[in-house]
């Protein structure tokens, strides 16, 4: 009740006292800093068309910063540009370019510190070090932005949307490219990331660290240096994402490391070196995903327990599954495997012979990576066949007892 009253009063004060401060080269107020000096909580600063060569703009008032079409803030590579230390603010329709690079300070186009209830939308951030750097904040909405960088190496680049210690964030419909990590979450809770496109980043398209209870869906991660990494997190839901063309010697569509209780469904993994690389993942359900033309569809390293793969399509991957232990506590059931050669006499859509996704060759490759040069050699086909008939090296209970005869998803 108290908060409601408070909000009401806030609303009243906003509507009554809010004034618009216009900034332009021939207005009375010519710089953003001047405008901020005179602004009060609830005011709106309207940047008219023009280039504003300013940086290190510190804002600690609850105001809106709105740009006209063609309003550009140029940081001239000197450092951070906007620093917000207030609650209830909005940034809309700004173009911010040229953030300085530093090896010791995280310069960002927009830095937000300890804020609640804020919106950053329709902004274009170009040639940034960090794009949005959000610290100790909650209830932020970040949408419809385009963030890009031009840096070449991991050390000299920053992240597009970097949230450190936040909760209840909504990040959607953004486009991120040419950065280190497109989106980076560290200690972020209860947030959603959706409909973003993250591509051509130097490291990860999306990177989660120690961030629990998050959802990301309908995103596209394309052609990033190493793909998407979700590490040390619990209760993450990932669905309807597209991971594609993450192709390189140390790339994967999705890297899972120390993940517990995640749901991964309806995703498409296409042409990645490794579709999903799992290390230390426990209690994860993989349902209805499509793995198309990856090098390895799934690579499972040690300490993965109770991973359940049901109703997935594995199509035309060079190797379906790689497994480096003989201990096996994961379950494969009702998946479609394009390499399945069994038959279905009773015509119920389920193959009568179990399918063994781990081939002897993928076991050998695990031990001796160089052996991969023999992929698709006749000898390899022969040993794979003999292993299939009588498994010796691969875990003999690792199989799909009910392989499907037809794929689940017709979309591809």
């Amino acid at each position: 009740m108290h908060t409601k009253i408070l909000l009401f009063f806030l609303f009243i004060t906003f509507t009554i006292s809010a004034k618009q401060i216009e900034v332009c080269s021939n207005c009375t107020i010519k710089t953003i800093k001047e405008a901020i000096e005179i602004a009060e909580d609830g005011d709106e600063i309207y940047l008219k068309k023009g280039i504003y060569k300013e940086n290190n703009i510190i804002i600690n008032k609850s105001i809106s910063l709105i740009g006209e079409e063609g309003a550009v803030i140029d940081g001239e590579d000197a450092g951070g540009i906007i620093i917000f230390e207030a609650d209830n603010f909005t940034i809309r329709n700004l173009k911010i370019i040229n953030v300085g690079m530093s090896y010791t300070i995280d310069y960002a186009a927009i830095k937000v510190i300890k804020a609640t209830n804020f919106t950053i939308e329709d902004c274009i951030l170009e040639n940034v070090f960090f794009g949005l750097l959000i610290e100790k904040s909650k209830k932020g909405i970040i949408r419809n932005n385009s963030i890009s960088g031009t840096r070449k190496s991991e050390a000299s680049s920053g992240n597009g949307i970097h949230i450190w210690d936040g909760s209840e964030m909504e990040v959607y419909n953004n486009e991120l490219y040419g950065l280190r990590d497109g989106i980076y979450f560290e200690f972020v809770k209860k947030s959603v990331v959706f409909e973003n496109t993250s591509r051509e980043n130097i490291r990860y398209g999306l990177h989660f660290m120690f961030s629990n209870n998050n959802i990301y869906h309908h995103n596209i991660f394309r052609n990033n240096g190493a793909g998407v990494a979700v590490m040390f997190s619990k209760f993450i839901t990932m669905h309807n994402n597209i991971f594609e063309l993450n192709w390189g010697s140390a790339s994967y569509g999705l890297l899972l490391k120390e993940i517990y209780d995640a749901e991964i469904y309806d995703n498409l993994f296409q042409e990645n070196t490794i579709g999903i690389n799992g290390e230390g993942c426990t209690r994860i359900n993989y349902t209805n995903n499509t793995f198309l033309r990856n090098g390895w569809a799934i690579k499972i390293a040690g300490a993965c327990y109770t991973n359940i793969f049901v109703n997935n399509d594995f199509m035309h991957n060079s190797l379906d599954l790689s497994y480096n232990t003989k201990i096996h506590d994961n379950k494969f059931d009702n998946n479609y495997w394009s390499e399945y050669t069994g038959y279905d006499l009773d015509n119920d859509g389920i193959g009568d012979v179990p399918y063994r996704p781990v081939k002897l060759f993928s076991y050998v490759v695990n031990q001796t990576p160089e052996a991969l040069v023999l992929l698709r050699s006749l000898f390899v086909d022969i040993i794979n066949f003999s292993e299939k008939v009588s498994p010796v090296f691969t875990p003999d209970n690792l199989m799909d007892s009910n392989p499907l005869m037809k794929k689940n998803n017709d979309s591809i």
Binding site: S249, P369, E370, V373, L375, L378
Partner: protein, 260 residues
């Protein structure tokens, strides 16, 4: 030489086996494209078939033709024609007719299915070039064996063994040595071992264009660096050419001394 080449060529073109071979590839091409309609994927499947089957057919055809036309060859040898020309004519006749069956048999269905518009055209032509090389190499090798072995059965046996060695056993030994010497850096070794076997070399050439280039990881860096560049392509092509020249050269050496 041209006359003999022409004769051998027409002789083979008229023979049933050339047609069977041609029709086999034709049907294969159509079926593959009919089944998955994706030229790129069909190229991968084709590669599997070409690197195993082309050498085998080349070997068998070579040996068979030599033994079958032995009497005619002896007749020719009685004429005032250079020996070298007779045998080179025959060799080229077989190789060219086999290559023609391969290229036409696969080319026709792929052209009909719109290869020219697809991005796979480069991969496909590489596949055909490699297939042609394999034909020339294995016919030459089998001619070597046939020339050195009077006994038909033995000749056949050796030829099949040679194919088996290069197609299967070599890779087995290769794999075992990779596993045994796991503790040592193996990238140079595997590069050289691949180069020494024409079947492996062809396979890697095509695969690097198709799917494993990135799978190879850090080991593959060496491979990719080597085969991925123009220089690597040049080297591997010249090695394939060497694989043709050396057996052909040996045929000629053998001919000089051989008593028919």
């Amino acid at each position: 030489m041209l006359k003999i080449l022409k004769y051998s060529f027409y002789d083979l073109m008229r023979s049933r086996w050339s047609y069977v071979y041609f029709i086999f590839y034709l049907i294969l091409g159509f079926v593959l494209l009919f089944l998955n309609n994706d030229v790129n994927k069909a190229v991968i499947t084709l590669m599997n078939i070409i690197i195993v089957l082309t050498p085998l057919i080349g070997t068998i055809f070579g040996v068979m033709y030599y033994y079958n036309s032995r009497e005619f060859t002896e007749l020719l040898l009685a004429q005032p024609i250079n020996r070298k020309k007779i045998f080179m004519g025959q060799y080229l006749g077989i190789s060219i007719s086999l290559t023609l069956s391969l290229v036409l048999g696969l080319g026709i269905p792929f052209l009909l299915y719109g290869l020219l518009k697809s991005a796979a055209i480069f991969n496909f032509s590489l596949l055909l070039i490699v297939g042609a090389f394999l034909n020339f190499i294995f016919v030459a090798l089998s001619y070597n064996i046939a020339l050195s072995t009077e006994n038909k059965i033995k000749g056949f046996g050796y030829a099949i063994l040679m194919w088996l060695f290069l197609a299967v056993i070599y890779d087995g030994i290769f794999l075992i040595s990779l596993v045994i010497f796991n503790d040592y850096p193996l990238d140079k070794f595997s590069l050289i071992a691949t180069m020494l076997n024409p079947i492996d070399l062809s396979r890697i050439l095509i695969l690097l264009k198709l799917d494993i280039s990135a799978l190879l990881g850090y080991t593959g860096a060496v491979f990719r660096k080597f085969f991925g560049t123009g220089f690597g392509m040049l080297v591997s092509m010249s090695i394939l050419i060497f694989w043709v020249i050396i057996p052909v050269f040996r045929i000629n050496q053998k001919l000089k001394k051989k008593d028919f």
